[in-house]
């Protein structure tokens, strides 16, 4: 029995990784989670310079989910390379670096810096953060802008490029095709769905940013549908995410067409959840007599 998957020629010991922004660079969780067990660690979005992010409150709980509007606070690429990437050299897992910026040029600069880093397996280009007003989401909701940034990033990138798509669009298939046409090596989806919550007694928004990104089991059916539509629209591999809370959920995404899966907000609820999901996938394969996950990937 083999839980390994290959994406863009890179081998993952299993298809389970964290969703960017829910796990830092692994540092804060390494005492609770054996990073060596993960298919990959996906780092929090990093920009060319430090970003302050949004004012607080930045998070709010919703029914079977949460809203966040962190605003991609990050220490900048210099500190990230010397601290976070150095830390990750201690672990036997793939490193996928999530890249953010305010302009095509900023994305490209970060991608160029990462080209020198030998323990970066793949790049995930965050063109879908709903909480950053300059740039960010704009690239993620317009096919033309998405093609432009994908081409620019691909030209500068040494590692395979994953474009992370926004669900806040009329046609996810159209966006998936645009990214593929522009040379993306893989896709990841879904990012969060833009939402809002109001404190009716204080008569103000619960998030200082007014809107935030909805994640968690609440949005899983939307994520599964979009992964299915995207995976059937393109030939490049898709990494599926959105409310995964169990091995069964991970399998659901794979049957919908995902080659690998990412766990997001549920890491907050249960830091052990990714390793539990890896164990659960092995159990499912044994029970169902599945030798290789390729047998069920995109089976529907």
């Amino acid at each position: 029995m083999n839980t390994a998957v290959e994406i863009c020629g890179i081998n993952f010991k299993n298809p389970v990784m964290n969703a960017s922004g829910t796990f830092g660079s692994g540092m804060e969780y390494c005492g609770l989670v054996d990073l060596n067990r993960l298919g990959a660690v996906v780092t929090k979005g990093v920009a060319k310079v430090p970003w302050e992010g949004n004012p607080t409150p930045r998070v709010a709980e919703t029914a079977s989910g949460m809203l966040n509007a962190i605003g991609l606070q990050n220490p900048g690429i210099d500190v990230f390379i010397e601290r976070d990437l150095e830390f990750l050299k201690n672990y036997d897992t793939n490193v996928i670096v999530n890249v953010c910026g305010h302009s095509v040029g900023e994305y490209v600069e970060v991608v160029q810096r990462l080209a020198e880093c030998d323990n970066v397996s793949m790049l995930e280009i965050n063109v879908s953060c709903p909480n950053v007003h300059e740039g960010g989401i704009a690239f993620g909701t317009d096919p033309g802008a998405l093609e432009e940034i994908t081409k620019a990033v691909k030209k500068a990138a040494k590692q395979p490029v994953i474009m992370k798509l926004s669900p806040n669009v009329t046609s996810i298939a159209e966006m998936a095709k645009a990214a593929e046409a522009a040379g993306a090596d893989a896709l990841s989806l879904i990012n969060t769905i833009t939402g809002m919550k109001i404190d009716i007694y204080k008569r103000r928004f619960l998030l200082a940013n007014r809107t935030g990104g909805l994640s968690g089991p609440a949005i899983r059916p939307v994520a599964v549908r979009m992964v299915y539509e995207a995976a059937h629209a393109v030939k490049i591999p898709v990494i599926g995410m959105g409310g995964i809370a169990s091995a069964e959920d991970a399998i659901e995404f794979m049957m919908a067409g995902a080659s690998a899966v990412a766990v997001g907000m549920m890491n907050f609820h249960n830091p052990g959840i990714m390793t539990e999901i890896i164990d659960g996938i092995e159990r499912f394969m044994q029970e169902q007599g599945i030798d290789d996950l390729a047998e069920i990937t995109g089976i529907l």
Partner: protein, 262 residues
């Protein structure tokens, strides 16, 4: 830091809407006053852990005492916990109070407003244990009728000065009014409570040129410093974030008042 199912050893109803419990958990081994834990509800619709400050620590018996106010779904569910119940716990979290910062201070003021009082009990027990004598505890409550929770336990360890919003017990006003009427001149302050009170403490400390350490609250998601949900504006670039934001769950919840913009 440990993630495990803790066992409820006993439940306390301390005052109107104020509950407490001793939880059996190995997290007690490494816990310090001023730290907190995250507790999960049993509901699949309420998935974020609830940060609850540690009120008291029993290392020998590996128990943590938590005291909370019912403020929403989670704390309401916790108020219905019973002895023997198991609850998912993550902790201990945060930095806790820095005792070394005392550095020869003699007159110590400990100020707790409302549900800010519980985390200070463990601190006062620790200070008392070091043989320090001049510890004055200022506790602010809504009203005597709502219950002066923990006041008697503080009295066993230090001089306690009460303040109530409605004047039904002690000084009519805030803990700062109580400090004022006590005529004391502390040379260090440890405080936890609502933001207006902490702003007052910060201002008092700056005017009197004394150090003050305040414990902050913010909505949290992970509790371990990964999500960057709970930050406070800082006066200087934070070593971790490289911006003027510190994580309340990790660099805090206790900060030197002078270092944070509140």
């Amino acid at each position: 830091m440990i993630s495990e199912k803790a066992v409820v050893e006993n439940k306390e109803h301390l005052a109107e809407g104020i509950y407490g419990a001793w939880l059996k958990t190995s997290a007690a081994r490494e816990a310090h006053p001023g730290q907190f834990v995250m507790l999960n509800t049993k509901s699949e619709a309420h998935l974020l852990g609830r940060p609850i400050s540690i009120c008291d620590i029993d290392r020998d018996k590996e128990r943590l005492r938590l005291v909370w106010r019912v403020a929403g779904y989670g704390t309401d569910e916790f108020s219905r916990l019973e002895e023997g119940d198991r609850i998912e716990l993550l902790g201990p979290l945060g930095n806790g109070f820095d005792i070394d910062s005392l550095s020869g201070a003699e007159n110590i003021a400990v100020m707790g407003g409302g549900i800010g009082a519980p985390p200070l009990l463990g601190l006062v027990r620790q200070l008392h244990g070091t043989g320090l004598k001049n510890i004055d505890v200022y506790l602010g409550y809504r009203s005597a009728s709502a219950g002066l929770f923990l006041a008697d336990e503080f009295k066993e360890l230090a001089a306690v000065h009460i303040a109530t919003d409605d004047g039904t017990a002690g000084t009519h006003g805030t803990v700062l009014d109580a400090l004022d009427s006590s005529g004391k001149a502390p040379d260090i302050i440890y405080a936890c409570g609502p933001m207006p009170m902490l702003k007052g403490v910060k201002q008092y400390a700056e005017e009197n040129l004394i150090p003050a350490y305040i414990s902050l609250e913010e909505r949290m998601a992970c509790g371990v410093g990964a999500c960057l949900g709970c930050v406070v504006k800082t006066r200087f670039k934070d070593a971790h974030s490289r911006v003027e934001n510190a994580r309340i769950c990790t660099e805090g919840p206790v900060f030197a008042a002078k270092d944070v913009d509140i």
